[in-house]
């Protein structure tokens, strides 16, 4: 499966995402410059983290209006799996491919730390390989990751099972103390209604190799392995 890792000016997790994807059998990741015409030919798209266009205006706002996103929008409509990680999630939200907004963390500071997230919906191309209610250890690193949606829309989001990842304790309880940024309903990641477009704040590519994990885990790999088939 050919996976495009889209590089915008000042993406900075692009090479990390390529490396983590390459580690999964069956995935052939390629770095694709945002102006590259070939984007439409890929089987899946990853928007990596970083500070696309310097986060000028708002995080993800400028990238969301780039020609690459118009192309990705058409691909998403065709059902192509699209994953936005961190800044990639912010871009998807800014582009309206995912609902809601990502606001400044409640502590008003950038937060880099390891978190636990529970997989709430295994019915997406990025969570198929997870066990039911599986808790994944992945780090976050962002200043604007507090997910926001009106109460009414939040109810719809939950009802349509579009909450994919939720910050939790290590036993899968979405308690307040496990919420690192004040995000609504402990939401760490969501999908569109169809489930093929997923965005999350934690970095699976940083959690895909036991040597990089303080817990010797490689939970982030599950997110990428899901692309090539289900079953943990």
């Amino acid at each position: 499966m050919r996976v495009a890792v889209v590089r915008f000016p000042a993406s900075n997790c692009d090479l990390d995402a390529v490396a983590a994807l390459k580690d999964v059998k069956g995935l052939a990741p390629e770095l694709v410059w945002h102006e590259d015409e070939s984007l439409g030919d890929f089987d899946a798209v990853v928007l990596p983290g970083g500070f696309s266009f310097g986060d000028y205006l708002r995080a993800g706002a400028i990238a969301a209006r780039s020609p690459a996103i118009s192309k990705i929008r058409r691909m998403a409509e065709r059902g192509v799996p699209v994953l936005g990680i961190c800044n990639g999630f912010q871009i998807l939200v800014e582009a309206g491919l995912l609902p809601g907004a990502l606001l400044r963390n409640s502590g008003l500071k950038f937060v880099c730390r390891w978190t636990c997230v529970t997989v709430e919906n295994r019915d997406t191309p990025f969570t198929r390989a997870a066990g039911k209610g599986q808790v994944l250890r992945m780090p976050i690193a962002h200043g604007e990751g507090r997910y926001y949606l009106s109460q009414e829309e939040l109810r719809v989001l939950e009802k349509e099972r579009c909450v994919v990842f939720r910050y939790s304790d290590e036993n899968g309880n979405a308690v307040e103390s496990a919420n690192p940024t004040g995000t609504a309903a402990n939401i760490a990641g969501i999908s569109n209604r169809k489930g093929n477009v997923v965005g999350l704040m934690p970095h699976p590519e940083r959690a895909a190799n036991p040597i990089l994990s303080p817990y010797c885990s490689s939970d982030g790999r599950l997110v990428f392995m899901s692309l090539v088939g289900g079953g943990a």
């Binding site: 880099c112 690193a141 990089l212």
Partner: protein, 732 residues
């Protein structure tokens, strides 16, 4: 008024005389500005160069030592790491956010200009007492935010650091940033213009009025009106820097860049004269080709502007097209500003007219200044006994809560320390950071300083900084392979300041020589002095040591891992409370004898500890430094979530008092935990390293006793709360 007087330059009367005599004429305004920038202390090292020759700079792994944009160390299999350290002290004192940001920008360019990828940042910060001073809290908060906003955006992880709070930094905070780069041995690029006919391409940000004469600003004391010097501080643009990094790494991979030099202190003046001088060539520049932010900048200002995010490339005119194409792809601005000549001159034209013509060799060779030095008389120094006696348990709590000791989570959680997926050991996890390299090895990195000890005894204090950094690297299983230093002092024309500088350099040099640890680069920063109070900072040399870990199996945790493990104290604890955190929190910071280093025994100590780590006879390792043995034990309890029962009488020591045993910051010590104390002890005995089993890992409390007498009992969860919550409580 002559052109010279109207320029407000930093040149001394003697230097002005030398310039006139050597050139045999009166330089014009542009020429004076060029010479002033390059002859500033910041760019020329005129007060330090002679002494820095004491450092050992050669070794089997050294590819390039001092004198380049970064030191280069061979890490095997064709890979090299580059190392550089910079400070941005004056700018940060005036504009902490901008100053700290652009400090990172500067050190990143040094790594990048070698054609290597920046893979990690290390910050060493010094501030006044944040418990008392709102100004210091503001400086601290803004500097950390500046580092975070810049480092996080450019995608280089900030993996380690060292922070100290002391009154002497109240006005002059110190902001040091070191950067580690990674590249291939055959693909290094140097800042040399070797080929006459090559074109000079100025890449990146435009040139504006920010940072005008920044190098000169950095080369004098901070004045009462320092707040008016904001125009000497550069404006950060991390987005442009990130584009520069990506574009230049892609360009470097083509092999077509013939030379590259970053524009830092002294701006174009310094970069141009240095590439010509080190290439043995000359350069000819059309200054009106420099892209400018402001239309009315005169040539002298363009030559000394320190606007950020700029890089100078030397390209063969016939093969520049692929490079230009890469710059266009990333929308990185550039302009061809001149060419390399063979006449040895720095020739500057402005609208076709020559406005400066100086021999490059002359510009880069500022006359050295032999400052007088005098040993200061210190009332506190040498006083052996210190009249503090206080409950040991309560003292442990106050030392642990001191911002100098307490957890720095509040700081490092604001830094992205994971980007790049290399960070094996993260901030706060162990004594040093550990980065994986593409050849399967790992690089240990840590920067250390101790101004309290250096002010009491600059020789041992400075050597001790190297020793501490080595211990930190050894504790994570790394064999020290190279070092960079940063020497920060007050006004060198003060004989007592200069004496402390001399002694510090000698101390570091002797220690490195004994350990065969090459110094591959460094930086000197003088004039860290407040002109209104006439107070210099305490001497603040910094050592940043890197080490190689051969195998991931050699990484042991810092915290206690298993109940029942024996706790082993390695190395001798001496009555060396001078400069300790204990005396600082108990109110007599200038008393006592500071720790002395013993380079000869440290060498065998490090080898023995590394052998032990590799033998797997031990299960936890922690170095013993700031705060002393009591803090080391407390940190091992906190990190592992386990308690320990310790008999201080069993500690190898010449101390008579319990507080000396608990809080003395003697060098050459580690604490280990082991499931097989007999085998571990035998190995230490064979290496003739003093050691002793002092207790065992047990329960959920740190219990200290002396023989049969119980001295203190502290709950590990309570210790953790104190350790973790001290900084957030002060800062949030």
């Amino acid at each position: 008024m002559t052109a010279l007087e109207s320029l407000h330059l930093g040149l001394t009367p003697d230097e002005v005389k030398t310039v006139r005599a050597t050139l045999g004429r009166e330089p014009n305004e542009v020429e004076w500005s060029i010479i002033d920038a390059e002859w500033s202390e910041h760019s020329s090292y005129k007060s330090s160069k002679a002494l820095l020759r004491l450092f050992p700079t050669k070794g089997k792994r050294v590819v390039l030592g001092p004198g380049y944009d970064a030191g280069v160390v061979d890490v095997g299999d064709g890979y090299v790491v580059t190392l550089h350290i910079e400070s941005h002290n004056h700018p940060s004192a005036v504009d902490p956010y901008g100053g700290a940001s652009t400090g990172i920008g500067g050190v990143l360019r040094d790594i990048l200009s070698m054609g290597t990828r920046p893979i990690a940042l290390v910050d060493i910060l010094r501030f006044g007492r944040i418990e008392r001073s709102p100004r210091s809290r503001w400086l601290f908060r803004s500097v950390v935010r500046g580092i975070a906003d810049y480092g996080n955006c450019v995608g280089v992880p900030t993996v380690a650091g060292d922070i100290e709070f002391d009154e002497s930094f109240e006005r002059n905070c110190l902001v040091d940033v070191a950067c580690v780069g990674l590249g291939r041995n055959g693909a290094l690029i140097l800042g040399e213009a070797k080929n006459p006919g090559d074109i000079l391409v100025l890449v990146g940000g435009s040139t504006g009025r920010d940072g005008i004469r920044g190098a000169t600003f950095a080369s004098k004391n901070l004045s009462k009106t320092a707040d008016d010097e904001r125009s000497s501080v550069q404006v950060p643009d991390p987005f442009m820097k990130k584009l520069l990094i990506d574009a230049l790494l892609e360009a470097a991979a083509t092999g077509l860049i013939r030379g590259m030099k970053d524009l830092g202190g002294g701006g174009l003046s310094t970069a141009l004269s240095e590439v010509a001088s080190s290439g043995g060539t000359g350069v000819e520049v059309e200054l009106d080709q420099v892209r400018r932010r402001e239309a009315d900048m005169p040539p002298a200002e363009i030559m000394v502007s320190e606007s950020q995010e700029r890089m100078l490339l030397m390209l063969a005119p016939t093969s520049s097209e692929p490079i230009i194409e890469i710059l266009r792809k990333y929308e990185v601005p550039y302009s061809v500003i001149g060419r390399v000549t063979n006449d040895g001159n720095l020739t500057i034209r402005w609208n076709g007219k020559v406005v400066a013509k100086l021999p490059a060799e002359f510009v880069v060779k500022a006359p050295l200044i032999p400052w007088p030095s005098r040993e200061p008389a210190r009332p506190g120094r040498g006083r052996r006994s210190v009249a503090v006696r206080q409950d040991i348990g309560r003292s442990i709590i106050s030392v642990l809560a001191s911002p100098n000791i307490a957890s720095k989570r509040w700081v490092y959680q604001q830094y992205d320390h994971e980007v790049g997926i290399r960070t094996v050991l993260k901030p706060g996890q162990h004594d040093a950071a550990l980065l994986r390299l593409p050849n399967g090895r790992m690089l240990a990195v840590k920067g250390d300083g101790n101004s309290a000890q250096c002010s009491l005894d600059p020789y041992n204090g400075a050597a001790g900084c190297v020793a501490e950094s080595c211990r930190n690297v050894v504790a994570v299983g790394g064999e020290p392979i190279a070092m960079v230093d940063h020497l920060q002092f007050g006004d060198p024309s003060d004989p007592e300041v200069y004496w402390s500088f001399q002694r510090s350099v000698q101390g570091m040099a002797d220690y490195c020589t004994a350990l065969k640890l090459p110094v591959v680069g460094g930086k000197v920063s003088f004039y860290n002095e407040d002109s209104s109070s006439k107070r210099a900072i305490k001497p603040s040399p910094i050592a940043l040591v890197v080490g190689l870990v051969r195998d991931e199996k050699h990484i042991l945790p810092m915290g206690f891992a298993n109940e029942g493990d024996a706790v082993i104290a390695v190395g001798e604890t001496r009555n060396e409370l001078g400069g300790s955190e204990y005396l600082r929190v108990t109110g007599s910071p200038d008393a006592g004898s500071p720790p002395k280093v013993d380079a000869a025994s440290d060498g065998s100590l490090y080898r023995a500890v590394l052998n032990l780590i590799r033998s797997r006879y031990v299960s936890s390792v922690h170095d013993c430094s700031r705060g002393g043995l009591a803090v080391t034990l407390a940190e091992m309890c906190i990190a592992g979530g386990l308690g320990a029962q310790i008999d201080l009488q069993k500690v190898p020591s010449s101390c008579r008092r319990v507080d000396e045993l608990a809080f003395s910051e003697s060098h050459g010590r580690f604490v280990l935990a082991s499931a097989d104390a007999k085998k571990a002890s035998r190995l230490l005995r064979d290496s003739k390293v003093p050691h002793s089993v002092i207790g065992e890992v047990k329960g959920r409390a740190l219990v200290l006793g002396s023989g049969r007498k119980r001295i203190s009992e502290l709950d590990v969860v309570a210790l953790q709360t104190i350790f973790e919550e001290s900084l957030p409580r002060l800062m949030d």
